[in-house]
Amino acid sequence: MDERPISLPLKLLALTMFVFLLAPLLVVLPISFSGDNYMIFPPTSWSTRWYGAIFTDAKMASAFTSSLALASVVTLLSLAIGLPAAYALVRLKPPGAAALSSFFTAPLLLPTIVLGLAILIVFSGYGLLGTFQGLIAAHLVVTLPYAIRVLSTALSTLPITFEEAAASLGASPLTVFRRVTLPMMRSGIIGTMALCFLVSFDEVVLSLFLTGPRLTTLPVAMFHRVEQQADPMVASLSVLLVALTLAVVLIVDRTSGLARTFVK
């Protein structure tokens, strides 16, 4: 921000720290193309075999499908539950709207290790462990706060004049919402969906408590794999995961502008 020549020692120090910060991400790419049977860095030979191994490993393939289905359902439900709530809080301004809004974002204050344990104990009583429904419910607890936050910001920055104009011309509240508010919230909605999808797809601690031998998600499967035998397959999976994240971020950037969606 302040235009001032940066001193050489600071430049060197910052550069060194940047290398440290990015090192774990940088080493994953070369090792994902390893041709070795086990992990060694640098690899002694190169191949794409570990990318192929992902798709022939039945466990990983099914974990990937589960994660994709889970994140999609959680994203749609987050929008379906979050949008009405954000509308009620911002546009209808009930008494105590600020307190309600803090209450709805409160689950993010709890560390996931504590929230995961708390949900495990309660869900075990209802037979929800190792089920798709249980995972959906647990993920919603942590995606909804993001949905509420982004959607509320999107709604409160919309000029209300357009909605008032439509209403004064005789449109019913539902029509105003459908034809005026919703289209104008497009970038907020896309941002919410991207954020909820990534949060759910990457969630690992909550899922660790709730998955079982029959149903597992990709991050949990990767966690167990690293725990048992850290082989190059995890690297190729990681590269695919980073590519997926990048794709989602790029889609958001193209359709609505990343800055407008996440900043403010």
Binding site: L22, L25, F41, A85, P95, V114, I121, V141, S238, T245
Partner: protein, 288 residues
């Protein structure tokens, strides 16, 4: 967002609609957050029997065990001291980057900012795996050491690995918190001091550092809280040999199936959070 009197006139019409629109999220929050958290508190006052069965009778036995057993005392102290060490290291590693970013501008700054945020969007499992690749016995550092004739060093499955990995994983949070607090840092004050003959070191100690203290305090609070409760990195880089509160909660919940102890340790983490927040507010009040 307090309701104005004009809004209040509309309330009767809107209230049932508001309730209807907020009902789904209230249900999710009640069943997935409020009830489980309260139940955690209740669970910590039960006791697990040696057989694994649980006695649903109110007792202080679990809390007594947590506070008197030397294993748990060591666990708590170890968690707090490791997290403090990680917080200090994260601060030292993040400060140069934050200061550099604060002083750069234009496209270059945006590119660097993306590089700071990119790791945040990457799963902790992926980044921890990256550290295993770098630190394990056949990894980047050990093979480099071996190549120049120095022996291999054990860097994972111990506290060193956990400390290195967590420091890097928490850096983006610290950098963003520091930058948020760097607003008061004005180049003109530094230039004034320098033009009056202060050495760069003196300018840093007497001007830059005091002005950035609020950012340092906020970043340290955030990193400490995240370090105490982080699980993935200590579990994978510690390899079951590093005992911290979060890894113990998981083991008690999943392996030992001692839910009362796991619950008590969870509430202990929340108490540590509260204490850290209290100290932070005190320090902030004392400074202003």
């Amino acid at each position: 967002m307090t309701a104005t009197p004009a809004d209040r006139d509309d309330q009767p019409r809107h209230l049932s609609l508001v309730v209807l629109l907020l009902l789904p999220i209230a249900l999710v929050n009640a069943l997935g957050f409020v009830v489980p958290t309260l139940n955690l508190l209740r669970m910590s006052f039960f006791e697990a029997q040696g057989t694994g069965a649980m006695q649903e009778v109110f007792t202080l036995a679990t809390w007594l065990k947590v506070f008197t057993d030397s294993f748990y005392a060591e666990l708590i102290l170890n968690s707090i001291s490791t997290s403090l060490l990680i917080t200090v290291l994260t601060l030292l590693c993040s400060y140069p980057i934050a200061l550099y970013l604060h002083r750069s501008s234009g496209l270059w700054r945006s590119v660097l900012l993306v590089l700071v945020i990119a790791p945040l969007l990457t799963s902790a499992v992926v980044r921890t795996y990256g550290w295993i690749v770098i630190l394990f016995e056949n990894g980047l550092i050990n093979n480099a050491l071996a190549a120049v004739g120095i022996g291999r060093v054990r860097m994972i499955f111990n506290k060193t690995g956990v400390t290195i990995g967590l420091t890097e994983i928490l850096m983006p949070y610290m950098i963003l918190a520091l930058m948020a607090g760097f607003g008061k840092l004005d180049a003109r004050i530094e230039e004034a001091a320098a033009s009056l003959g202060a050495s760069p070191m003196r300018v840093f100690r007497h001007i830059v550092l005091p002005l950035t203290l609020p950012g340092i305090a906020l970043g340290s609070l955030l990193c400490f809280v995240l370090a105490v409760s982080s699980f993935i990195t200590p579990k994978l880089l510690g390899g079951g040999r590093v005992f911290l509160l979060a890894t113990e909660i998981y083991d008690q919940a999943i392996v030992t199936l001692n839910w009362p102890v796991a619950s008590a340790l969870s509430i202990l983490i929340l108490l540590i959070f509260g204490t850290a927040l209290l100290l932070y507010t005190r320090a902030l009040n004392a400074a202003t």
